[in-house]
């Protein structure tokens, strides 16, 4: 399953890269992209693992860039 989310608030390219790398390591995730320029987060994960991966991703966002909120 592939889903795109909008991001609210600023995020620097550096943090975006860190978050993206973190998410791509999660189990069941095929591809993730955190785009600091278009403020878009795309998650592509196996159907069964998607919800869990999304939840962990949101935690990563909160940890690394608390000012940037994912609009789920």
């Amino acid at each position: 399953m592939r889903k795109a989310f909008k991001l609210d608030g600023e995020i620097c390219a550096n943090c975006a890269g860190k978050i993206q790398a973190g998410i791509e390591k999660l189990p069941g995730v095929n591809k993730a992209s955190v785009n600091a320029m278009t403020l878009k987060f795309t998650l592509d994960a196996e159907d069964g693992a998607f919800d869990e991966a999304l939840e962990t991703s949101l935690k990563l966002f909160a940890d690394i860039e608390p000012d940037c909120e994912v609009l789920v």
């Binding site: 608030g9 600023e10 390219a13 992209s33 320029m37 278009t38 000012d67």
Partner: protein
């Protein structure tokens, strides 16, 4: 300004007011006259400091708690806390006011930074705002607005004046002019009528159109373009990757240096501790790499945005970077430099023969044929064709046509056909297919048919040479003679003719190999057989309007309006973007290094103010410079 920014602005204003009052009191000597004045002053200045900077402190702590400590928040926190802490050194001057001021100034800069970035992001987003919101569909005799994604292939949709075409399709009824500038950067409107195919993303300007859709929303031109551009920032340029790697090393190194200065310079040179701590704090403030981390990707994004506004789609900032270094451009001929359709390039009438009469005879004789050559002759005839006049049409397979027009016997075809009828022909210096025309056994002249050069083909080659491209090469499967003629007319430096598709790859590989230094090789093509060559070249450029899907897929850059002259413009945009990126890198690093040198304890002339300028001031200037990437010269 968004809500978060407004909230921050209010906080800064309040903090600034409190700070101003305290500063006046301090200068007037109020604190000194009080018992424990220094400590009261210390506590008082903490108020505006915390109002302005509590979020910075909180995020610095958040970073430490989550083991991601080295960011600007930590640096600013250490530096400002350090400035306040100088009060504990009895021999140092108090720096509380400076600590609070630095935090304030930093927040003002950060606010401006986020405003500028948001603004740039928005203007790029507006530029790419070609996605339609709805489609009008007839349902039960009423026009309903539906989501374009819900319209099936083959459904009929209505596009009113001023609306964006939501889906690709063919016009079923109506006539109108379309503004294609969002797709192609072309300002001249396109006239469409029944049977014309229209691309989504164009704006309907003058008349209502009914369109039968030919693609689903996710495969439409608009969706494909948006996807391309949005994914573009994922293929990062080397410079971009370098900056993020650099930032990761740079910050810890400067923090280490600051520590070393604070600890070792009092031990080694006997300088007062307060001086060395102050130097270390200045080091920390200037060490933030934000100016680079923000402005470099912003520049590339702006460059890609500017290019797409001109109808040039760049699939990633790495290609923009490579394009700026291109010094050899190889072209496919047909469909790239030429239209790929036959047309009459010259009519040579014999002495005393009227040119229009010659064309009239030829057009009438060819009127019943659907051979591409016949069609182009008919198309070039300005008058109307009276089919009543034509009789006894006979095709001489592969040689030509004979027919009776009025009472005259018209013969039109190649040398062999003329020879068979014992008619003497004159040859022509032009390259192309020759159609000799004879009427009643008498030679009237000939018509030259050739692949038509694109209007701006010559301009394209000249533009590339003017942009500093050293070598232009034309690669074609065409005959030697035809290739030589086109090459000479366009002023192409070199050409290779009679190539098979696989030969083109070999030719481009040879160009890549013979290349020395940093120059890159670009290849421009449009056909399916060009796809491997597009992949192999450093930069593959495809014609997006008429190009095959395979070519567009394989290419790194797509020209939406099929104009080869856009290549020179793309190179100019790429070079401008790269030079802005370089300016920012050099400027930011130079300012920071100078401030660090001035801050060394043995020199000691840099102030905390200068350091804050070295951080946010430089960032703001770099962002303003990066915004120039968005501007396109028309």
């Amino acid at each position: 300004m968004n809500n978060k920014q407004k909230k921050k602005l209010r906080r800064i204003v309040v903090a600034l007011a409190v700070f101003a009052v305290l500063e006046v009191l301090a200068v007037a000597g109020v604190f000194e006259s009080l018992p424990y004045g220094l400590w009261i002053e210390f506590a008082a200045f903490l108020v505006p400091y915390l109002i302005a900077g509590y979020d910075v402190l909180r995020r610095a702590w958040h970073g430490i708690a989550h083991r991601q400590p080295f960011d600007e928040n930590l640096l600013m926190s250490i530096a400002t806390i350090g400035a306040f802490a100088l009060v504990f050194f009895p021999d140092a001057e108090p720096h509380m006011a400076e600590g609070a001021a630095v935090m304030l100034f930093y927040q003002v800069g950060a606010l401006f930074e986020s405003y500028a970035v948001g603004k740039t992001r928005k203007s790029i987003a507006d530029m790419m705002d070609i996605a339609p919101d709805y489609a009008n569909v007839m349902q039960g005799g009423e026009l309903m607005q539906v989501d374009p994604a819900d319209v099936a292939v083959g459904d009929e949709i209505v596009v009113k004046v001023g609306e964006r075409v939501p889906l690709d399709g063919v016009v079923v009824s109506g006539r109108s002019q379309l503004d294609t500038s969002a797709l192609t950067g072309e300002s001249v409107p396109r006239v469409v009528g029944e049977g014309a195919s229209v691309a989504s993303g164009c704006v309907n300007m003058t008349g209502v159109l009914t369109i039968r859709t030919t693609s689903a929303f996710e495969n439409s031109t608009v969706s494909r373009i948006l996807e391309l551009v949005e994914n573009a920032s994922e293929k990062k340029a080397r410079t971009e990757n370098f900056i993020s790697r650099f930032a990761r090393v740079y910050t810890p190194v400067v923090v280490g240096l600051a520590l070393a200065i604070a600890v070792f310079s009092p031990l080694a040179f006997g300088l007062p501790i307060s001086e060395s701590v102050k130097s270390a704090l200045i080091f920390l403030v200037v060490s933030c790499p934000c100016a680079l981390v923000i402005s470099v990707p912003l520049s590339f994004f702006g460059g890609i945005g500017a290019a797409s506004r001109s109808g040039i789609l760049v699939k990633g900032s790495s290609y923009l970077e490579a394009l700026a270094q291109v010094d050899t451009v190889a072209f496919d001929k047909t469909g790239t430099l030429t239209n790929g359709t036959f047309g009459v390039v010259a009519v040579h009438a014999g002495e005393g023969v009227d040119r229009d009469l010659l064309l009239s005879f030829a057009a009438h004789a060819e009127a019943y044929s659907d051979h591409p050559i016949a069609l182009s002759v008919v198309a070039s005839y300005a008058g109307t064709i009276d089919r009543e006049k034509i009789a006894e049409v006979e095709e001489h397979g592969g040689q030509g046509v004979s027919a009776r027009v009025d009472s005259h016997r018209v013969l039109i075809g190649n040398d062999a056909l003329m020879r068979a009828e014992d008619i003497d022909v004159r040859n022509c210096h032009l390259v192309g297919t020759i159609l000799h025309v004879a009427v009643d056994g008498e030679y009237l002249g000939h018509i030259i048919i050739a692949d038509m050069m694109k209007d701006d083909a010559k301009e394209a080659i000249d533009g590339l040479h003017a942009a500093g491209v050293k070598k232009t090469v034309m690669l074609t499967g065409d005959r030697e003679q035809a290739a030589a003629a086109v090459a000479a007319e366009l002023g192409v430096d070199e050409y290779r003719a009679q190539l098979m598709p696989q030969d083109k790859v070999a030719q481009v590989e040879a160009l890549l190999e013979s290349h020395d230094g940093n120059g890159k090789v670009a290849f421009v093509g449009d056909g399916i057989n060009d796809a491997p060559v597009l992949m192999r070249a450093d930069v593959g450029i495809a014609m997006g309007g008429m190009g095959s899907d395979a070519a567009i897929e394989a290419a790194d850059i797509v020209l939406m309006n099929d104009k080869p002259s856009q290549i020179a413009r793309a190179i100019r945009i790429a070079r401008k973007t790269l030079s802005i990126v370089k300016q920012n890198i050099v400027f930011a690093l130079a300012v920071k290094v100078v401030i660090m040198i001035l801050a060394l304890p043995m020199i000691g002339i840099a102030t905390m103010w200068l350091a804050v300028f070295g951080d946010v001031g430089v960032s703001v200037l770099a962002i303003l410079n990066a915004m120039r990437c968005l501007r396109v010269r028309k």
